[in-house]
């Protein structure tokens, strides 16, 4: 059975993919749907949702259009989620590959280093990093990447460790291929499937991390983000619940969709490991 069929057999994964596509479409269309800056007050503050056609989700404490903020926020969440996951991969994959392939002292040292990063409370480290480097797109992406790479390194190390002893790798050694070439052309291509699965699940955690940071006021001040919007509604919870409700719902749906799709990807890429479904 081919990849697509296996993916589609998991109904949750299909649902996740549909939600995800909707979020991506909204994010791409943001400048067309709401050409004005989402920061601009455009109406009376505290307009309730579903009452005025121009503001389908209502307005916030300053009269900004919530729907516009939500759509523009989708761009930020998705972008930070993807880019910071790439940063984590960029750190984790080489470290794991070197540790697994070299073994011995190098492996020991690198794994101690990884363990150290796993011991540190990751969210606290992310807060400190962003606060010290000042909240900007770059520092946020860097902070999320820096706290997220250890699981990747461990995964790649484990895969490489078991691939290293395979006959085709030994054959490559025998014909005199250089070590970097063996790692890049023989070993790493065979670890791609599990890396893709873990990466897709990590985008969800990265989005949660980003929204938590911007909720605390550590978002890029130039970019509208969902976490910031939830935080902005905090002071008027009782009479204007929608200001905090909708952005949070958007985060939840996006992360859920990513997790569902990631699990579907796992089933589709590792058919032998797929959990029993009827």
């Amino acid at each position: 059975m081919n990849f697509l069929k296996r993916f589609c057999r998991n109904r949750g994964a299909v649902l996740g993919l549909v939600i995800l596509l909707a979020v991506v479409v909204f994010a791409l269309l943001a400048p067309t749907l709401f050409p004005q800056s989402p920061w601009r007050p455009v109406g009376r503050p505290f307009l309730a949702p579903f009452t005025i056609e121009r503001f389908p989700l209502g307005t916030d404490t300053l009269g900004r259009n919530l729907a516009a903020g939500l759509v523009h926020g989708a761009r930020v969440s998705l972008m930070i989620g993807v880019v910071s996951t790439l940063v984590a991969l960029l750190i984790g994959v080489p470290l794991g590959a070197i540790a697994g392939y070299a073994g011995g002292f190098v492996d020991d040292a690198l794994m101690r280093f990884t363990e150290f990063f796993q011991t540190i409370p990751s969210f606290a480290l992310a807060i400190v990093l962003v606060a010290i480097l000042q909240p900007q797109l770059g520092s946020i992406v860097l902070a999320i990447g820096v706290v997220s790479w250890p699981p990747i390194a461990r995964l790649v190390r484990g895969e490489v460790l078991s691939l290293r002893t395979r006959e085709y790798v030994q054959a490559a050694v025998t014909i005199g291929q250089s070590t970097p070439r063996i790692i890049f052309s023989q070993v790493l291509p065979n670890t791609i499937a599990p890396i893709i699965v873990m990466g897709s699940l990590m985008i969800g955690s990265a989005i949660l991390l980003e929204s938590s940071l911007s909720f605390l006021g550590l978002g890029d001040p130039n970019l509208m983000s969902w976490g910031y919007m939830v935080g902005a509604g905090r002071t008027r919870l009782l009479d204007a619940w929608w200001i905090s409700f909708f952005p949070g719902l958007a985060i939840f749906l996006t992360v859920l969709a990513l997790n569902l799709a990631g699990e579907g990807l796992n089933d589709a890429l590792n058919p032998r490991l797929a959990r029993g479904r009827e």
Partner: protein, 325 residues
């Protein structure tokens, strides 16, 4: 390897980890834009030239980098985590003052999530494929994707503001002057919502892990043997499967302690819980970097201590484990 050797080995490793975090803090101060003296002073002291000069003197900021590092580490080794010029108090005193509230919150959340999570996971595995399994699995998926701060706010709206079942914010009723049992009950009422919301994500996590672990153990040979010998199915699940399946879950739960501390920052911010998470948030707003780094260090120390504790309990509980490896 005996217990004493094991313990001293783990303690040494913990101390090394904390030393590494102190070094990390040292370089973080220098990574901030501007003069390290201004960073140490926080925004409060930024204008005061005398204070800046004192700080340069005290931390040897005119000396070579290695000397500066040595002075900084010496401070940490004597438990001097710096001074908050904004609050006019040593950082350590500020943190220790707030620590009990955080320990109470994270401890309660940890217990709730571990008990609830393993129970849910065990139930789901026991009824694998049935509707109760689907329900629990779906719930776990949902809780796993929900932003912690959002759940906290929404439950605040529903349970505190609208229904009024539990208090909205805070640690205890201000001005009530309860003592003894009445005070404990009052704190408990305030604890319910923060602990439940903080525990929700971890409940989902442990439920998923427990379910997978149970199903794995259920296929093991010794379980088949037990069944073949005619042990009753409920007893097999309880005594053979669940007891073995829970071990890896508890190990992973111990490793997750760090995330619990991170989540406490969000929960305490929403519920105005007077712990180190709230302290971190306040320090963040005031750009009081000494306090920020101090809280970061102490929360790391909490995690290190917690990991040693779980390892120790584990080693005593399960004689098969060679925890030295």
């Amino acid at each position: 390897m005996n217990l004493l050797q094991f313990l001293s080995g783990r303690l040494a490793k913990g101390v090394l980890t904390l030393l590494a975090i102190a070094v990390l803090n040292f370089f973080l101060i220098r990574a901030a834009p501007g003069d390290p003296a201004q960073v140490l002073a926080g925004e409060a002291g930024a204008a005061d030239a005398v204070l800046l000069e004192q700080l340069r003197e005290r931390f040897g900021l005119n000396e070579p980098l290695l000397t500066q590092l040595w002075i900084y580490l010496k401070g940490y080794m004597t438990l001097d985590l710096g001074f908050s010029y904004r609050q006019q108090q040593p950082v350590l005193a500020l943190v220790l003052d707030r620590l009990p509230a955080t320990l109470l919150l994270t401890g309660a959340a940890f217990l709730i999530s571990l008990v609830l999570g393993t129970a849910m996971g065990a139930l789901a595995a026991r009824r694998a494929g049935k509707w109760s399994d689907s329900l629990i699995t779906a719930l776990a998926l949902i809780f796993y994707a929900t932003p912690l701060f959002w759940v906290a706010l929404m439950s605040q709206i529903v349970f505190a503001l609208k229904l009024g079942i539990v208090p909205n914010v805070g640690y205890e009723t201000i001005g009530a002057n309860y003592t003894g049992l009445a005070r404990a009950l009052d704190i408990g009422r305030h604890l319910v919502l923060p602990a439940l919301t903080l525990g929700l994500f971890f409940t989902a996590l442990y439920a998923r892990m427990m379910r997978a672990s149970m199903l794995e153990v259920a296929g093991a040979d010794f379980v088949k043997t037990a069944r073949a010998k005619g042990v009753s199915p409920p007893r097999v699940w309880r005594r053979h499967v669940a007891r073995n399946a829970i071990l890896p879950v508890v190990t992973l739960a111990g490793l997750q302690a760090g995330q619990l501390v991170g989540g406490a920052v969000l929960t305490e911010t929403v519920f105005a819980w007077p712990g180190i998470g709230r302290l971190m948030f306040d320090a963040l707003v005031q750009r009081d970097y000494s306090v920020l780094l101090g809280v970061f260090f102490v929360s790391s120390a909490m995690v290190v201590g917690f990991n040693i504790l779980t390892d120790l309990i584990y080693r005593i509980a399960d004689p098969r484990i060679e925890a030295g490896a």
